[in-house]
C-alpha cells in the first residue's frame, strides 16, 4: 500500500489508454507503484469520437492499474492532446504605485492576470499559462521578482489553449466513471517534465511526442517554454498508409510497422522482401522491404518537415542547444532519430522518462512518457498549491511550472 501522497496520471491516447499510479515520498522523490493500460477504441487523433466505448476503455485501464498497484484511484490528472491545441507568447505589465518601489507577491499575481488578458477564440479555454521570465524596469531574465525594487514589472507568459468543448469531453469521460479530475495537462508539457532534465531545458530542447493520433511538441529555451502545439498526425497515419499502400489489414500493417519497418531508406538490398504469413501460418503475401520503408519514411519526413516549418515561424528553434527529444509510441520506429536529426539538422534522441524510481520497465518505455510526466507535473504544482480540486479547471492556471 502507498504511504505517501498518491498521484495518478491518465492519458487517453489514440492507440491506448494508460494509467500510471505513483506516490510522492516525503523526501520529494516519486515512486511508480503500477501502470495500467488498455487498448483504446473510440479515440481518433487524440480526441474522443465514441464516448461510450472510450469510457469503457478508460475504465478497463483504471481497473488494471488499481489491481497492479493495489490502491484505490479516486482522482487523476488527465493529459489532453489534439490538433485543436494552440499556443502563443504574451507579455503582461503592471506599474507599481508611486509610494512603493518594492515588488510584492500581489504585484506578481497582478501581472499574471494582466498577461492573461488577451483574446483567444471564443470557443477556446486556457489550458496553461506558463511563466517564462519576469522583467523589472527592463532588466531581462528575472526569475523571481518578489522583493526586488522597481517601478515596472513585466512578465512573459507562454499560453496554451484549446477548444473548450473538446477538453470537456475528455474530462466528462473520466468524471462519469466516476473519478475526480485534478487537472488537465497538455500532453507534451507533461512528457517534457520527465524526458528533459533541467539542464537540457536550460540549454534549449525540442520535445516531440509522436503518439498514435497526434504529434505534440514543446520547445524550451533558457529553461522556459517558448513554443508548443500539436499536429493531428501520428503513428496511426503511418499504419493507415501502410495498410492502403500494401493493401493489407490495419492490424497487420501495425505489426509490420513495429516489427519490420524503418524510416531510413537505402538500407536494404534491392528486391529484399518480407514474407507475410496468413492466419493459418502459411506463406501469404510478399512485400518489398524498401516499399514499406518508403511509405514510413515519406510520412515521418512529412511530419517532421511540417513541424520544422511550424517551429521556424518563430526564431526560438535557433537557440536549441540540446537537440530534439523524440518520445511517444511512434518513437520506437527504427531510425526515427536519424531522420529527425537529418531534417532539423541537430542532434535527435529517442528518449523515455528519466529520473524515476519504482517500476523501471514502465519508465523505460517511451509510450508512457506522457502519463509518467503527469505525475511529475502534479508533484511540481502540488508543491505550489495544496490540493484544491476541480474548480481550478478553466479558472486560474498559473503555476510555477517551467
Amino acid at each position: 500500500m502507498a504511504s505517501g501522497d498518491l498521484i495518478v496520471g491518465l492519458e487517453i491516447g489514440t492507440s491506448k489508454v494508460c494509467v500510471v499510479v505513483g506516490e510522492t515520498r516525503p523526501d520529494g522523490t516519486l515512486k511508480i507503484l503500477g501502470v495500467g493500460q488498455a487498448p483504446s477504441r473510440g479515440v481518433r487523433k487524440g480526441e474522443i469520437v465514441d464516448f461510450e466505448t472510450a469510457m469503457k476503455c478508460v475504465h478497463e485501464a483504471v481497473v488494471d492499474a488499481e489491481q497492479k498497484s493495489d490502491v484505490m484511484i479516486r482522482s487523476v490528472y488527465v493529459a489532453v492532446a489534439g490538433g485543436h491545441i494552440q499556443s502563443f507568447n504574451n507579455r503582461g505589465c503592471v506599474m507599481l504605485p508611486e509610494e512603493r518601489d518594492e515588488i510584492d507577491e500581489q504585484d506578481v499575481e497582478d501581472v499574471k492576470i494582466n498577461a492573461r488578458e488577451v483574446s483567444i477564440p471564443a470557443q477556446n479555454a486556457f489550458l496553461h499559462s506558463i511563466i517564462q521570465h519576469y522583467h523589472v524596469d527592463g532588466q531581462d531574465g528575472v526569475l523571481n521578482p518578489v522583493g526586488m525594487l522597481g517601478e515596472k514589472l513585466e512578465a512573459d507568459f507562454h499560453i496554451i489553449h484549446g477548444v473548450r468543448t473538446r477538453v470537456q469531453n475528455t474530462i466528462r469521460c473520466v468524471k462519469e466513471l466516476p473519478l475526480e479530475v485534478e487537472d488537465v495537462v497538455f500532453s507534451a508539457l507533461a512528457a517534457a517534465q520527465v524526458v528533459l532534465t533541467q539542464h537540457q531545458k536550460n540549454l534549449g530542447a525540442l520535445v516531440v511526442d509522436i503518439g498514435g493520433g497526434t504529434t505534440d511538441y514543446i520547445l524550451y529555451v533558457d529553461g522556459a517554454v517558448k513554443q508548443s502545439g500539436a499536429l493531428a498526425v501520428g503513428g496511426d497515419h503511418i499504419t493507415n498508409d501502410i495498410s492502403m499502400g500494401l493493401r493489407i489489414p490495419m492490424a497487420r500493417a501495425e505489426k509490420l510497422k513495429t516489427e519490420e519497418g524503418s524510416c531510413v531508406l537505402g538500407n536494404c538490398l534491392p528486391g529484399e522482401t518480407i514474407l507475410l504469413k496468413d492466419d493459418s501460418g502459411f506463406a501469404g503475401k510478399e512485400i518489398e522491404r524498401e516499399t514499406l520503408n518508403t511509405i514510413i519514411h515519406l510520412r515521418l519526413r512529412e511530419i517532421f518537415e511540417l513541424l520544422k516549418r511550424t517551429v521556424e515561424e518563430e526564431p526560438f528553434i535557433n537557440y536549441v542547444g540540446a537537440g530534439i527529444f523524440i518520445t511517444g509510441g511512434c518513437s520506437l520506429v527504427n531510425g526515427i532519430d536519424y531522420l529527425a536529426g537529418e531534417i532539423f539538422e541537430m542532434p535527435a534522441h529517442v528518449t523515455h522518462a528519466q529520473t524515476m524510481s519504482g517500476l523501471t520497465s514502465a519508465v523505460e518505455n517511451p509510450q508512457f512518457s506522457t502519463a509518467i510526466g503527469l505525475l511529475k507535473y502534479a508533484q511540481a504544482v502540488q508543491v505550489d498549491r495544496p490540493r484544491r480540486g476541480i474548480t481550478r479547471i478553466f479558472g486560474r492556471f498559473f503555476s510555477g511550472m517551467r
Binding site: R44, K45, V49, G83, L231, A232, V233, D236, H237, N240, D241, S243, M244, G245, L246, M250, L265, G266, N267, L269, P270, E288, T291, T294, I295, L298, R299, R301, E302, L306, R309
Partner: protein
C-alpha cells in the same frame, strides 16, 4: 581463371595512363599542391609556379618555376595581377618546358591575389598552346578579403573560363561553412585545400581509372558545360557496412553541393562510382537510386563505374555537375572568336552536344574492346577478383577483364539508370490525370486534418505521387 587475369598485364596499363601534370600557381596553388601530394599523387607530376621564392622553396613539388626573375626579383606581386601577368609572360619559356610532355594539365590557383589571378590564365594558355587539355581549379577569396580582391578574382575567373577546357570554381565562403566556427583559421583554409585536392584526385581517377563504364573527357566536359556557372562537385568515400549510402551522403555534404539541393537544378550530372573488387551491383543500384531522388526526372545522368584493386574495401562516389548562371549564355555568345590554337576544344564541346545524350554511343577509344563477351566472363571475373586481390599488382590484374565486361554491364546498369527517370516522368503525368477519389482509409469518418492545403489523412505517398509496389 587465374590465367585470365595473368594474361592481362602491365603493357596495356601504360598505354592507358595519360600523362598529367598538376600546376599550382601562386601560394594558394602551392598549398593545394602540398595537400594533393599528401593525398597520394605522384610527386613528379606536380609543378609549383610562383613569383615568391620563399614560398616556392617550401613547396613540395618536384618541379618549380620561378616567375619574373627580373620583374619581381623573387618577391611576391603584392596583390597586383598586372605584375603577376608580366612575370608569367617573362617566364613563359620555363613554364612551357615544365608542362611540355603532359596531355592533361590541372591548374590550381587561388584567385584574387597577384600571382594566382595574373599568371594562372597565362599558364592555361601556354598549356592549351602545347595541345593539352586544361582543367582549372580556382578558389575565390573569402568575402572578408575585400571587394577589390573579389573583383580581381572574378576578372581572372572569366579569363580562365575563356581559355581552359573546364573550370571548377570553389568559393572559399562556402568552404567556411564546412568548418566549425571555433576551428582555427588554418583549418578553414585547410578545408579549401582538401576539397581541391579531393577533386583533383577524383577527376584524375575518373579519367585514368579503367572503367567498367568509362567516363571520358567528353562526359566530363558535358557535365561542366555551363561555363561561368557554378560548379557542383561532391566526393565521398566510405568503407563501412553501409558504404554506398555513406559515401553518397558524404558526397552530397560537400560544400559545393549544398546538401544535394543544387543537384535538382542541373541538367547534366556526372557520377562515377569506384570501388574495390568487392563492389556489388546492388550497392551501385542502391546508390544510384538514392541519388535519383536528388535530381529531376529529365536530368541527364552520365554514369560511370570503375573497379580498382587499390580501393580495397572502400567505395567512392564522385559527382560533378554545374549550374548555368543567368548571364552565362550571354557571355558565351559574346566570347571572342577563338584563336587558332583554341580551335580543337570547342570542337569537343560541340561534339558532345551534338549526339543525343545516350551513354552507350559515347565514343571511348581507349576502352572499346569489341571482343564478344562470353557469358562465362562474368562469372570468371567476379570470382578471381574477389578471391585474389593480390597486393602486388591488383589493378592490372583486373584491368583487362573490365573492358571485356562493358557490353553486358552496360545493359544491366545503364539501361536501368537511364530508364527509370523516363518511366517516372510518364508515371507522374498519368497520376495527375486520375480522377478516382483518393481514400482516407480509417480516417474516412473523422474530421480531416488540413494543413497547408493538404489533407494529411491521405497517405503521404499518394499525395506526393510516389509509386509504391
Amino acid at each position: 581463371m587465374i590465367q585470365l587475369s595473368k594474361n592481362y598485364s602491365l603493357p596495356e596499363r601504360q598505354e592507358e595512363s595519360i600523362p598529367i601534370k598538376v600546376v599550382g600557381v601562386g601560394s594558394a596553388g602551392s598549398n593545394a599542391l602540398d595537400r594533393v601530394l599528401l593525398d597520394g599523387m605522384d610527386k613528379d607530376d606536380l609543378i609549383a609556379v610562383n613569383t615568391d621564392v620563399q614560398s616556392l622553396a617550401s613547396s613540395v613539388a618536384a618541379r618549380k618555376v620561378q616567375l619574373g626573375r627580373s620583374s619581381t626579383h623573387g618577391l611576391g606581386t603584392g596583390g597586383d595581377p598586372e605584375l603577376g601577368y608580366q612575370a608569367a609572360i617573362e617566364s613563359a619559356d620555363e613554364i612551357r618546358q615544365a608542362i611540355a610532355d603532359a596531355r592533361m594539365i590541372f591548374i590550381c590557383a587561388g584567385l584574387g591575389g597577384g600571382t594566382g589571378s595574373g599568371a594562372a590564365p597565362i599558364v592555361a594558355q601556354l598549356a592549351r598552346e602545347a595541345g593539352s587539355l586544361v582543367i582549372a581549379f580556382a578558389t575565390l577569396p573569402f568575402s572578408f578579403e575585400g571587394k577589390r580582391r573579389a573583383a580581381q578574382a572574378q576578372d581572372a575567373l572569366s579569363r580562365l573560363n575563356d581559355i581552359a577546357n573546364a573550370v571548377i570554381c570553389f568559393e572559399n565562403d562556402r568552404m567556411g561553412d564546412m568548418v566549425a566556427p571555433k576551428a582555427g583559421i588554418h583549418q578553414a583554409f585547410g578545408v579549401a585545400d582538401m576539397t581541391i585536392s579531393q577533386s583533383v584526385r577524383s577527376i584524375v581517377n575518373l579519367i585514368q581509372r579503367p572503367g567498367l563504364i568509362r567516363i571520358g573527357f567528353d562526359d566530363l566536359f558535358a557535365a561542366l558545360r555551363s561555363q561561368n556557372g557554378r560548379c557542383l562537385f561532391g566526393f565521398g568515400e566510405s568503407d563501412t557496412d553501409n558504404r554506398a549510402h555513406d559515401a553518397l551522403t558524404q558526397a552530397l555534404k560537400n560544400p559545393l553541393m549544398d546538401k544535394g539541393r543544387m543537384l535538382s537544378e542541373s541538367a547534366h550530372v556526372l557520377v562515377q562510382v569506384a570501388g574495390g573488387p568487392g563492389m556489388t551491383l546492388s550497392e551501385v543500384e542502391i546508390l544510384m537510386r538514392e541519388l535519383g531522388r536528388h535530381v529531376r526526372d529529365h536530368t541527364q545522368i552520365v554514369f560511370g563505374t570503375a573497379v580498382d584493386g587499390k580501393m580495397g574495401n572502400r567505395l567512392s562516389v564522385t559527382i560533378i555537375s554545374s549550374l548555368a548562371s543567368e548571364d552565362s549564355i550571354a557571355t558565351q555568345a559574346a566570347r571572342p572568336a577563338p584563336e587558332p590554337f583554341l580551335a580543337p576544344p570547342p570542337a569537343i564541346l560541340e561534339q558532345v552536344e551534338e549526339p543525343p545524350p545516350n551513354i552507350d554511343t559515347v565514343p571511348e577509344p581507349e576502352v572499346v574492346v569489341p571482343a564478344q563477351p562470353a557469358p562465362s566472363d562474368l562469372i570468371s571475373f567476379a570470382q578471381p577478383a574477389t578471391a585474389e586481390a593480390l597486393p602486388p599488382a591488383p589493378a592490372p590484374s583486373i584491368k583487362k577483364p573490365a573492358p571485356r565486361l562493358i557490353p553486358p554491364k552496360k545493359k544491366a546498369v545503364v539501361e536501368k539508370e537511364a530508364k527509370p527517370p523516363k518511366e517516372k516522368c510518364v508515371q507522374a503525368k498519368q497520376e495527375v490525370m486520375q480522377f478516382e477519389p483518393v481514400t482516407r482509409g480509417r480516417f474516412e469518418k473523422s474530421e480531416p486534418t488540413i494543413v497547408e492545403g493538404q489533407d494529411l489523412d491521405i497517405p503521404t505517398f499518394l499525395r506526393k505521387k510516389v509509386r509504391v509496389k
